[in-house]
Assembly symmetry: C2
Homo-oligomer: 416 residues x 2
């Protein structure tokens, strides 16, 4: 194995035991101190960030990406506020649940503990560096970061600040480490460091996530892609439906909980689609419809098979016509990514069946899919939105970064 990686792994493991016994009060003190440290280092961080921004410009990086990469005093203040708000959250570590006495007198319960060492692979957004540290540190985890090569100077500067805060409190600085070599080979090796890393969380676009899922031997928490559907049932209130679709499609287009596909009952499409189009037109949303949708609105683009499975992240919405609730559910379960889907209906039984039968992390009745979010769900923080079924599903707060262990109190019991 790459020597640098091996060393990072060993240092992470060494820090893990220390982290396991950190008390909540100390963790909060560190987070608040680190937040102040980031703000005090604003000038240094921005200087380093400028190196990344200039390099990005030189290689012709898209302005949108440059914007994501660039740090300003306000953005550094926002990172610091992120750490402060994590400090204010309840610490999930240490809670013991389900403690029960067995017939033989053994007392058995489950205690919430850190996962251990968390690997994070992400792209060129330096704010993820501080976010990931805050969430992992609060839950007693060690974190190893592999950020994008385009943000390497920014990430180094931020990690240095955070490590200084750790050292100030006598905590091993290796509780957060950055893999500075962002080459493909090192990343591949990182994804196979099962000896040192307990779980890998990729954060970024669909391509990054697929690469990690296909190459990692470490357990992965898959986050993210969302081909979210809204089904407008025969009994839907048109105004409510149009409001929700307008919100879910246009409030923010580049996010995983935006609506990408509309499914409409054939008995109302003739009336509803023109009504909806009028509502969406100010935002220039392009509709792509099946044959029946195009009979209603001949000017719209025909949808291809590919459209049904597409996460546009753009002002585009596909429109599928169905003749029943069953057909709607089948269509959604076939083409969605299992993120968030909604039904708009006034029919009690349809609402319940949709909730039961649509197989997604979040299923809504009469609300916008945009609510799938750790903050909106009341977790106070979010590490990502899991679209897998193992370990965590849906928005992940602090608890998703924990595990449990059984603790057993005996007085000499042996098994018969």
């Amino acid at each position: 194995m790459n020597q640098q990686l091996e060393l990072i792994g060993q240092q992470a493991k060494a820090a893990e035991a220390f982290m396991r016994s950190l008390k909540t009060q100390k963790k909060n003190d560190v987070l608040l101190f680190a937040a102040d440290g980031l703000v005090k280092s604003t000038r240094m961080i921005i200087e380093e960030n400028q190196l990344d921004v200039e390099a990005g410009r030189k290689k012709g990086m898209h302005e949108g990406l440059i914007d994501r990469l660039m740090l300003t005093p306000e953005r550094i203040e926002a990172m610091a506020d992120g750490l402060r708000s994590v400090a204010a959250l309840e610490d999930p570590i240490g809670e013991v649940t389900g403690m029960k006495q067995r017939p033989n007198g053994l007392l058995i319960g489950q205690k919430r503990v850190p996962l251990g060492v968390i690997g994070m692979i992400y792209e060129a957004r330096p704010n993820v560096t501080a976010d990931a540290f805050g969430l992992c540190f609060k839950t007693g985890n060690v974190v190893i970061l592999k950020g994008g090569s385009d943000a390497v100077h920014s990430n180094k500067a931020i990690v240095t600040c955070l490590q200084m805060a750790l050292e100030h409190f006598g905590i091993p600085p290796f509780a957060i480490q950055l893999i500075e070599d962002t080459s493909r080979e090192v990343t591949q090796e990182f994804m196979r460091m099962n000896r040192y890393v307990d779980v890998l969380i990729p954060r970024g676009g669909a391509g990054l996530i697929r690469t990690v899922v296909n190459n990692s031997t470490i357990p992965v928490i898959e986050t993210g892609t969302g081909n979210c559907h809204i089904y407008v049932d025969e009994s839907a209130d048109f105004e409510m439906a149009a409001n929700i679709i307008f919100n879910a499609k246009t409030q923010r287009i580049g996010v995983c909980n935006a609506c990408e596909s509309l499914v409409v009952h054939e008995n109302i499409i003739g009336d509803f689609l023109p009504y909806l189009k009028f509502r969406l037109d100010p935002k220039n949303v392009e509709l792509r419809g099946d044959d029946m949708a195009r009979q209603v609105l001949p000017m719209i683009t025909p949808a291809s098979e590919e459209d049904w499975g597409c996460e546009y992240l753009d002002y585009i919405l596909s429109v599928k016509t169905v003749s029943s609730l069953e057909e709607a559910i089948d269509h959604i379960n076939r083409y969605h990514t299992g993120h968030s889907d909604a039904i708009i209906t006034r029919d009690y039984e349809h609402a319940q069946r949709f909730l039961d039968e649509v197989d997604a992390a979040a299923v809504y009745v009469n609300a916008s899919t945009r609510f799938t979010d750790g903050y909106e769900f009341g977790f106070g923080a979010e590490i990502g939105i899991s679209t897998q079924k193992l370990h965590a599903r849906g928005p992940m707060g602090l608890q998703a970064l924990t595990s449990t262990k059984y603790i057993i109190y005996g007085n000499g019991q042996i098994r018969k």
Copy 2:
């Protein structure tokens, strides 16, 4: 992809939606009917099993393995009883927890749902076939089985019986499928069927589990290997310690919760080790000790570095001397497999620190590690013992085979 596998995957997905809406009463009826069906088919199953046994004998299979492979009327009755006892367990599916009203009026809760399609890879124990079906079916999951090539006739016979029970109730028989082609290539492809399979559970020896972990792109629940330690603290009651060690080492040697390594405080090793040896001698347990242990008992084998990390599954026990609780905890965390470890002590603070700092699925004070087991923990069933930290850790009962989804009741909410 292999056409047979592709077909199996498609059939599994088709059955998944059906399984999702199966009611508890019907699932129980099917399990009871299938149990009776197995018993009624005893003759057919044993005839098929004989083909496997004869083939095994012909290729010189070890008698211990032949014994694991062989089915008798009693063993088939035991399989049926297994299905009956799963029928009697509470159904975890459908429970809604944590439902709360958000400030905007959204009502958000988490509903327990099946994982979906579970892949199971195991060796030549045909009883796993019926067990896996029972647990997966009760939790509304579809299961795809890949058993060992040595048991292929037995597995086919059992699966046929189970499918007949499903068909009797109008349930798609593809809710349980067996991959009959047990070649290496097909197994490799199976481990990459992310499109169709939600989770893979390997059951068998360390080699099988490592192969699955290293090759699967599907999320894996790692079960099993156990290098369990018992630490005899300075303040331990010798009689209790010897009883527990005798039980944990000799009650059943081939199991993952058996004790493989002893850690003893240096202040008591001179008195304790001879006392223990006297207790273990009737079972001919071989002790392998470090220098200090060999100063006490010069006749015992010297332990090498390899011994500390070894899961013997035999009448062998390594003995490590330590000068403090800290050293004991460090040694255990370094060499164990994170399965089950115990401290024998009368010291309150040492007990608590051991529970806090040993990083294992189950940590004991003053009890045998042999209790790490779904039945002993009161789950009524066990699909395996997870030694990973993601999703499930420790003995896994029915709940480990489930996921959750957020269900959200709104009345027109949009995100601001």
